[in-house]
Amino acid sequence: MRPVSRYGGTGRLPVIITIIVSLMLQVVPFPDWAEAFRPDWVALTLIYWAMMMPRTWSIGSAWIVGILLDVAQGTILGQHALALCFIVFATVRFHLLMRVFPMQQLTATIFALLALYQFLLFWVNGVAGIDVDAIHYWAPVITGTVLWPVITILLSSVRMRAQLRG
């Protein structure tokens, strides 16, 4: 790893903090009616960092964060790890394209990635015999896509401030 940030080494700390914050947002209590609309904060955060710094934040980190998310939420161990790993893989694979995409096209890509993420989670639920309403599938995909620009702005400012590259 190249020492490109003033945090010495690879400057992982700011990114780790954003990931922890996203984990917190994932478990903050929502009222029951809004529960289904909770965006996939962790997925969005990991997509951003995988797109911008694919050498440091790639599938390995996604897998570990996924396992932690599984433990925090009490889902089947490996469920979120699998889904996050897969979408981060897709992001790393196409990160150069995604960086130069115009906004509409990027938003469409994010929509597709989140849909894929939810599809994987639902697929595991289906195999495990857990019955879930369709709203839990679509609502987070839509709220996540809508929130993507906001998340990009926030995380970009973190990235600029810490002068992270890579």
């Binding site: 433990v71 161990l77 893989f89 790393v92």
Partner: protein, 283 residues
């Protein structure tokens, strides 16, 4: 920017991405199989639970603080009102409790006559639900007690009014509870009035349980209280579960359509009680 860029923008240089992703995906699938089919991974969960515990505490903290502030600023009138209500309630409870020792003695004597194992009193402890949302696909809650407090998987959870659920996972300092309203939860119950035994299934709605296995001629009516039957081993017997709200006898179907409303207020529980049952092996 020049040197890192050359290094950076060549996707082929990210080492063995394809192989690594395959390994990790395989590892996830293996974990899921182990976790779902068997319970091999309880210790792993317990250990990792300690890692996510700080996150849960931080998320819970503002809600706890808010509770604390609200308690500190409640006005005198409200406090007095609550105090008198509680006093009245306590009077009523202690009046009922006066009969308990006599009843327990009688119960033990009768059981002795029947040569059944005597039922010892359950130990109960109060715990708090953390303000942390758990599994979005299930009716779950996270509690602020764990293996450290001798909480165990399958332990029964009640509130002041009735059965809330049971523990499904424990880590060192927290544990996950499944509520009786979860669609995958089934609870052996009996009708308090006549001892008719059946199963109460969760429906996914917080205010409704299903009793799918009652024949059309079963002796059950609206308003019947359902209590835990103690069969199945997880729950000690005799705790209130739900009140029957509708009985629909369908002549052409094998079973009647019966639903009930849980006695516990599942959507607003914050303080719950854990039961250490001393006769859990009595079957």
């Amino acid at each position: 920017m020049v040197a890192p860029r050359a290094n950076n923008t060549n996707p082929a240089r990210i080492p063995a991405l394809g192989i690594r992703v395959l390994v990790l995906l395989a590892a996830s699938i293996l974990l899921m199989v182990l976790d779902h089919r068997q319970n091999y991974l309880d210790t792993v969960r317990t250990t990792l639970g300690a890692v996510v515990y700080p996150i849960q505490v931080v998320v819970d903290a503002p809600f706890r603080l808010w509770d604390w502030v609200r308690q500190g600023t409640t006005d005198r009138n409200a406090l007095e009102l609550e105090l008198s209500r509680l006093k009245a309630e306590k009077l009523l409870s202690s009046a009922r409790l006066q009969r308990l020792p006599a009843l327990e003695a009688e119960n033990a004597r009768l059981r002795g006559l029947l040569e059944a194992r005597s039922q010892v009193r359950d130990e109960i402890r109060v715990a708090e639900i953390m303000a942390v949302d758990a599994n979005p696909y299930r009716h779950n809650s996270v509690m602020g007690v764990g293996a450290r407090d001798k909480v165990y998987d399958g332990q029964a959870i009640i509130d002041a009014a009735g059965v809330v659920g049971q523990v499904i996972e424990t880590s060192l300092t927290t544990s996950q509870a499944i509520l009786i309203s979860d669609p995958s939860h089934a609870l052996p119950v009996e009708v308090n009035r006549n001892g008719l035994r059946t199963i109460a299934n969760g429906t996914g709605e917080l205010d409704r349980l299903d009793l799918p296995f009652l024949p059309n001629n079963a002796d059950i009516r609206e308003g019947d209280l359902l209590v835990t039957s103690g069969l199945g081993g997880a729950f000690p017997s005799g705790y209130p579960v739900a009140v029957v709200t509708s009985v629909n006898r369908i002549p052409q179907a094998p079973f009647a359509d019966v639903s009930a409303t849980p006695s516990a207020s599942l959507d607003q529980v914050r303080e719950i009680m854990l039961i250490w049952s001393s006769d859990e092996t009595s079957e």
